[in-house]
Amino acid sequence: MKFTTAIKASVLSLGLATGLAIAPAVHADDYPSKSINYIIPFGPGGESDISARHQQPFFKKMFGQDLIISYKPGGGGAVGWSQLNSMPKDGYTMMGINLPHIIIKPLQKDVGFKTDDVDGFYIFHYTPDAIVVTADSEFKSLKDMIDYAKANPGKLTFSGSGKGTANHLAQVTFDKLAGIKTTYVAFKGTGAAVQALLGNQVKAEFGYTSVGAKHSDKVRMLAVAMEERHPSFPDVPTFKELGFDIVSGAYRGIAVPKGTPDDIKNKLSEMIGEINKDADFRKKMEADGFALIDVGVDKYADFIAEKTKGYVESAKEAGVIK
């Protein structure tokens, strides 16, 4: 009896002591006062990493603190997102988020997080989907491609990055809108999908505008899934111009662990927005084929809700979710 009270007392005091020690003493005025951990839930070298690397020097220049980028890959991002909310909520830890991943993954099986668990505060860019063919391809325009697909159902092969991804869902939508049947071949990441395209293993790639930017001497894009033409590719039409209502891509943003003070979140949202406004940053991102957008903390929830509808519909058609 005495013993258990002693244990209780010590546990209590220990809890109190540590509670005091870790009580977040964060104020938005002097934030950030130290470097910020920026976790990418994918491996290095992908688009998520590269866009974060683009932000890194601008953040340092504008706000005086370092962004320390680390990686927590696994489960198509699920490993990182499922652990996000157990990380320190002092505003010095944030994590990259990707659409459609954070919407599709939790609908498949229990992956340790729900879309609502992810406390995103900014979507800062996207890589628009695009149909890419090799420079010497027989398809000169989207019409050539659709004609071929109509004459040869199923024989038009697209490489793309993974299943249930932006590429895959766009291909499903395209098939439906154009009234054709094409074959989607999933590869591990954009690099492998491009390799298959350049090696003529497939007829075309459902990729991103970043593919067109990176391999501009070897490929050409037939259409991009944007509202307006990409500034780096004024000659490439949008799907909309060609009569297909597809505006899609892989959207990337940043989230904080749930429970991070609101004023810190607002401040971070402002900061990321300011980087997005920087002319030099814009130029570099656009040269790599990224398209900048500004979905700040106030518009985030609506944006996710709107995107969820479209993604869920295509994912069901694609057979990725039931």
């Binding site: 220990l14 540590t18 020690a21 870790i22 951990n37 157990s86 320190p88 299943k163 999933a186 057979g319």
Partner: protein
């Protein structure tokens, strides 16, 4: 024919392991029925079937008393079992304690425990003085290398916080 030689020839580890692998294969096949995409189950299901087939083959080998090579050790366990088990427990314990105690403290405790497990020589005053210090230097050194130079976000622990 002594019982010993019978036991040696009729080492039952092979059919036990075969049964275990068959069970694993069966669980895998059951799991594959929940996949939504045909691309997902072709591979694991095929492999599971092959593995079950091989397990059956292993059982037949055993039944015929045929050992294909003299190198096959069968089941052998010797020497200190307690120390082995303690080592594994210490390592898993350290991993599980990390999120609560933080990496450094969990690492120090694990290091000390494993040092005791691996210690066969008598504890002379010299060793008593030098080994723990060496251990602390190694653990703290690696901790600093990883957390500060390589910028690995090592677990900090929810129960104890460190000044650095």
């Amino acid at each position: 024919m002594t019982t010993k030689s019978v036991a040696k020839r009729r080492d039952i580890s092979s059919p036990v392991m075969a049964a275990l692998f068959i069970a694993i294969g069966a669980i895998v096949i059951w799991d594959t029925t929940t996949y939504t995409d045909a691309d997902s189950y072709v591979f694991p299901r095929t492999i599971a079937i092959v593995m079950i087939g091989l397990s059956v083959l292993l059982t037949i080998q055993w039944f015929l008393g045929w050992k294909p090579s003299a190198d096959d050790p069968g089941a052998t366990v010797d020497k200190s079992i307690p120390r082995r088990v303690l080592l594994v427990i210490a390592m898993i314990g350290a991993a599980l304690a990390m999120p609560y105690l933080g990496f450094l403290i969990a690492g120090l405790i694990a290091f000390a425990a494993i040092m005791l497990i691996a210690m066969y020589d008598p504890w002379t005053p010299y060793r008593l003085a030098v080994y723990p210090i060496a251990g602390a230097i190694i653990v703290i050194g690696f901790y600093m290398l990883f957390s500060h130079v390589l910028q690995v976000p090592l677990p900090e622990g929810t129960m104890v916080t460190l000044p650095f």
